[in-house]
């Protein structure tokens, strides 16, 4: 199962812990939306490739 963790803001300890538990033992990638110019095309490709996308706070 491929999981994509998208971070809408810089992940704090709570977000990191939840993402870590959900991703444990699974193929996981991440994308940081909290930058000046996110590569939305790349993000959409990653979303389409994942089995599950989680957009954390």
């Amino acid at each position: 199962m491929k999981i994509l963790n998208v971070y809408r803001s810089a992940p704090d300890d709570t977000t990191k812990k939840l993402a870590e538990i959900v991703s444990e033992g699974r193929e996981a990638t991440s994308f940081d939306l909290n930058v000046d110019s996110p590569d939305y095309s790349k993000l959409v490709d990653m979303v389409f490739d994942a089995d599950q996308t989680i957009c954390w706070w």
Binding site: K17, L18, I21, V22, E24, I54, C55
Partner: protein, 99 residues
């Protein structure tokens, strides 16, 4: 087969509406759960207490890792670790609103 959704809020301005969205999916025949994480929210009014009960009637649950929400609003206590473990079984995970 019915899908499972799990809403989580970390901002008190969003918690009650996230419960409403939780109920919204429950009535769409999904298993729908909610957690209030790390924050204390005010006491629920009668309408929102009914929503919480209704979520449970639809085989969902409202969790919190904050004791005050358990005592004041009847939410079910779950640690952050336990909430994370529950998320592993969920197809639609909704970190709701901003922090």
């Amino acid at each position: 087969m019915s899908k499972k959704a799990f809403f989580m809020t970390r901002n008190a301005d969003y918690s009650v509406d996230a419960m409403r969205s939780t109920l919204g999916l429950a009535v769409e025949n999904m298993y729908s759960f909610n957690a209030v994480v790390d924050i204390e929210i005010p006491e629920l009014d009668e309408h929102n207490k009914e929503n919480l009960d209704w979520i449970r009637d639809m085989e969902g649950e409202v969790y919190s890792n904050v004791d005050a929400n358990v005592e004041k609003n009847g939410m079910t206590k779950a640690s952050l670790e336990e909430i994370g473990q529950k998320l592993r079984d969920i197809e639609i995970i909704v970190p709701y609103g901003p922090i």
